[in-house]
């Protein structure tokens, strides 16, 4: 479902959103404000998501804990 290609799929979606933001930004004096803010937000959020996703893509360590209860384990 979610494997390494997700980063590129996400990128494609974000690029599409950025293009949409560029095209559909309300006209007028503040168009530049709309465009820059929306695109910058999309890119920032994408970056954060992609970094988080990539950090877990090929994990070097795995979660460990010693306070697990038996009941919890069995479901």
């Amino acid at each position: 479902m979610a494997n390494g290609w997700s980063v590129f799929i996400g990128l494609a979606i974000i690029i599409a959103m950025c293009v949409a933001a560029w095209v559909f930004a309300p006209k007028g004096e503040n168009q530049v404000l709309w465009r820059s803010s929306l695109i910058l937000s999309f890119v920032s959020c994408y970056l954060m998501w992609a970094i988080t996703f990539l950090a877990q893509l090929n994990p070097l360590i795995e979660p460990r804990r010693s306070d697990l209860r038996e009941k919890y384990i069995h479901h």
């Binding site: 820059s36 988080t52 950090a55 893509l57 090929n58 070097l60 460990r64 306070d67 384990i73």
Partner: protein, 876 residues
């Protein structure tokens, strides 16, 4: 040509304009321009003192009116009449005509006279009233003395004469009051009655005793109610005294002493009938006075109430009028032509609007002489005018707090609108806290209008930044979801990528490691959004998140700085300085990317390599490699070029050596290219002859050199002075004279500047990248703090059963919620905000913004009313 419209992307294009206005409509024109608020007038009378200017007389007159209005306000305060405040959002004041202002002035004059005469008579009457009250008290109390004195006369006599007088005794025994009184005079005993302040009684007594050597009989009584001192309007406790003494001289002495002690001496008749009459008379007079007083008071209050209706409006009118005359004083007045000449800056794209406003005013006045507005060319640096709206205003304020952007350079507030709240959110990532903050921000925006009136300073500050808070909270919701933190707990939104690898005979209290869900299946499933919740509460949770957040900080920092650096390219393009692109932007960018861009690339590469491949049916025994430490890799890249400890990719050492060389080569380019290019350009220009340069950048010896850093002549369209207007001779000296620095090209200076720039840039690349690690540190601190708060309040409470547990939960929840709001949202929020602010100001702005501008401060009534401290109490 610039864009057809001014956008917030850079400051508006400005023009210097000259206005020629007929003297008659000067006031109206300035009024209209003040309403418009788009022109910043220059002072054309710099060498004339404030007293010698043309309209000083009018300003004085208005000052007087203002003083009168303040006097009314003070009187209203005294009378306890509330001022009807003016709400400028609802009511608008039409610009007043001269006659209206005169009317106001005249009315104020007459009202002041009436109010002050009413006040005067009120005070006189009040004084009279106090006197009468005192007299009444004296009469009443002294009467008491006399009545009591009946029995004492004998003793008094006995003390003065040694023999008994049987006849008198008889008389006394008969208790015939008139006789007793007669007896006083018969004994040659006189008295002084009066009123004295209670504090002075002791001193008064002592002085009397000493001066008269004890030859007196003093009687006194306290007046139970405090009397009002008419001079200070404060209540004073007073005593009535009656002093009996022997002999006229002594009595005269007592009177003198009384007067000198501030006592009031009143005439009291010895005869009780007469005294009774006196009391009646005093009472009648007191009544009269009180009636008159009440009437006066009512009249005064009615007058003041009437004034209170329009006081605020008058105050605003007069304030505006004063501002108009102050502005008119900046104009140069041509007495011969009866023309006012004004000069000022205005946005180029608003010129038509100003022109039509001017036309309107002229037409309305029915003047045949047209008002002229002329755009003049100048080599002065225009002011920076950044248009804002409700949303971007607060962001712009953050930027302006650092400095005013250079004219026409990229407005640093544009990227700040997103980067500042986003970096804040990276540090503040907690879904729960973000939701609370978001609700607060939304509430402030929803009740925008009513909340605007709140004057509590701390709240007003938060309210001013409500849109910043909104964006910050929105991003925090996102980062909270990414960090998977809700009040330090995590949400299980998706299926985890980990499953616990439970040993066969699990007995509890045994370390259990998790295994990838798809281990050995050949497919891959990874947690799709944010951090896997399986990490929550594990022993090596921090080990993982620290590594993740540190790397994220570096990547976000790199992205932020690269993005900021790109603006310097846009600026160089805008100012048509290709040398800034080739001498600063390109080598800087290559230097930065070949070190930190490479680091970021390595981070991503390391993440994407599967270091411990899982066995699949096709490949049951995959080879595991040791992942390299990136920090060591970067250190060895500098210290031992060519040495690679653990390989990340084939050919790594060659690439690293090349990148290092590439970066090092940029340093001399950064150092020398720009200064030497500038010198070459300057020399070439000189070689062609001085005159020739004028085509590009020089008109007169006074004009500056385009090369220097200080002046980014965005407005350097062909420079020549204005030749078409009248009155030019008068103004031209002023045009080219003052406040502009004219620097000759000096190679040494340019070189030193560039050396500093280079050193700064290279060192900053390192230190600024490290500085972004604050993102990791702060977000770690926030997350740990909220975990601690949970474990100290709600956590243990949830383990308690029964009714006690319920009560415990209520108490700990209250604590948890309050502390969450105070510490984790407000305190941590402020701290994260300051760190984010620093990242914007230092790490980002230093890459592109010059901050060499001066702010545009147009003459605007709206701004004047907002900023005036004097008027705030009149405005609702």
């Amino acid at each position: 040509m610039g864009p057809a419209r001014d956008t917030p992307f850079r400051s508006a294009e400005m023009s210097m304009v000259q206005l020629y206005i007929s003297n008659e409509i000067g006031r109206e024109v300035v009024n209209a321009l003040g309403e418009l608020g788009l022109v910043q007038f220059r002072d054309l009378n710099g060498d004339i003192t404030a007293f010698q200017r043309v309209f000083t007389g009018d300003i004085r007159r208005l000052d007087n009116v203002e003083r009168q209005l303040r006097y009314f306000h003070a009187q209203m305060d005294k009378a306890g009449i509330a001022l009807r405040k003016l709400d400028l959002d609802i009511e608008t004041l039409a610009p007043p005509t001269t006659s209206e202002i005169d009317d106001v002035a005249e009315r104020c004059q007459s009202l002041e006279q009436r109010v002050s005469s009413l006040n005067e008579s009120y005070e006189t009457l009040k004084k009279r009233e106090v006197e009468l009250t005192e007299w009444r008290w004296v009469l009443r109390e002294a009467g008491g003395f006399f009545d009591r004195a009946h029995g004492n006369v004998e003793e008094i006599r006995a003390s003065t004469e040694n023999d008994d007088a049987p006849l008198l005794q008889d008389v006394e025994h008969n208790n015939a009051a008139p006789d007793v009184e007669r007896s006083f005079s018969g004994m040659n005993i006189g008295f002084v009655a009066g009123v004295i302040v209670r504090d002075r009684v002791a001193a008064f007594e002592r002085i009397l005793w000493r001066t008269l050597r004890g030859n007196l009989y003093m009687n006194q009584a306290e007046i139970p109610e405090p009397l009002i001192d008419p001079s200070t309007n404060e209540p004073v406790q007073k005593n009535v005294f009656v002093i009996f003494a022997h002999g006229k001289e002594i009595l005269a002495k007592i009177r003198k002493i009384s007067e000198s002690m501030g006592a009031e001496v009143y005439n009291v008749d010895e005869n009780s009938d007469l005294r009774r009459e006196q009391v009646h008379e005093v009472n009648a007079r007191l009544n009269d006075v009180q009636n008159v007083l009440r009437n006066t008071q009512q009249t005064l209050e009615a007058e003041l109430t009437q004034i209170s209706e329009s006081l605020a409006a008058w105050m605003v009118l007069v304030g505006k009028e004063k501002a108009v005359y102050n502005t008119l004083n900046l104009f140069s007045y041509d007495r011969a032509r009866r023309t006012l000449i004004a000069e000022g800056w205005c946005p180029t794209h608003d010129l038509p609007l100003i022109r039509s406003t001017l036309q309107d005013v002229t037409n309305r006045a029915g003047l045949s002489v047209p008002s002229i507005i002329n755009e003049i060319r100048t080599n002065k640096t225009p002011p920076t005018y950044l248009k804002t709206n409700k949303f971007s205003e607060a962001f712009q304020t953050i930027v302006n707090a650092y400095g005013t952007a250079t004219y026409q350079e990229v407005n640093p507030a544009i990227p700040v609108i997103v980067t500042f709240p986003f970096l804040f959110a990276v540090m503040f990532g907690d879904f729960g806290h973000a939701i609370i903050m978001l609700s607060a921000a939304l509430a402030m925006i929803y009740w925008e209008k009513p909340l605007k009136k709140v004057t509590f300073e701390l709240f007003a500050m938060v309210y001013y930044g409500r849109y910043i808070a909104l964006v910050m909270a929105t991003f925090s919701v996102f980062t909270g979801l990414i960090y998977n933190d809700v009040f330090s707990k995590s949400m299980t939104l998706f299926e985890s990528q980990w499953v616990w690898k439970v040993p066969e005979n699990f007995a509890g209290h045994q370390t259990v490691a998790a295994q990838l869900r798809d281990y050995g299946t050949g497919s891959t499933y990874r947690y799709p959004f944010g951090l896997d919740w399986r990490w929550h509460g594990t022993e090596n949770d921090l080990l993982f998140t620290n590594s993740y957040k540190m790397k994220m900080s570096i990547i976000l920092g790199w992205a932020h700085m690269t993005y900021s650096l790109c603006f310097s390219y846009i600026n160089a393009r805008r100012f048509k300085k290709p040398i800034d692109i080739w001498g600063n932007f390109v080598p800087g960018m290559i230097f930065f990317q070949s070190i930190f861009g490479y680091l970021v690339m390595c981070i991503i590469l390391k993440w994407s390599i599967n270091w411990f491949p899982t066995p699949t049916p096709e490949n049951p025994h995959p080879v595991a490699r040791q992942p390299p430490g990136l920090l060591n890799m970067l250190i060895y890249m500098f210290l031992q070029p060519g040495f690679v400890e653990a390989q990340l990719y084939p050919g790594q050492s060659t690439v690293q050596v090349c990148l290092l060389l590439l970066a090092l080569v940029q340093v001399p380019i950064l150092l020398f290219l720009k200064p030497f290019y500038l010198r070459w350009e300057n020399n070439r220009a000189r070689a062609r002859g001085y005159r020739n340069i004028g085509e590009r950048s020089r008109v007169s010896a006074l004009d500056d050199d385009e090369n220097d850093e200080g002046n980014n002549g965005g407005a350097v369209h062909g420079r020549h002075s204005d030749e078409d207007g009248e009155g030019v001779a008068m103004i031209s000296g002023d045009l080219h004279g003052d406040d502009e620095e004219h620097e000759e090209f000096e190679f040494g200076e340019v070189m030193i500047h560039q050396v500093i720039h280079t050193i700064e840039f290279c060192l900053n690349c390192v230190s600024h990248t490290a500085s972004y690690l604050r993102l990791w540190a702060l977000s770690l601190a926030h997350q740990q703090l909220s975990a601690v708060l949970w474990s100290m309040t709600l956590g243990p409470a949830l383990k308690v059963h029964g009714i006690g547990g319920a009560i415990y939960i209520v108490i700990t929840f209250t604590m948890f919620f309050c502390l969450s709001c105070i510490i984790l949202i407000i305190m941590e929020g402020v701290s994260a905000m300051l760190h984010s602010l620093r990242l914007a100001w230092v790490e980002s702005f230093s890459k592109f913004a010059e901050f060499g501008g001066w702010p545009f401060a147009p003459f605007s009534f709206k701004q004047m009313l907002e900023e005036s401290e004097e008027l705030t109490e009149y405005l609702g």
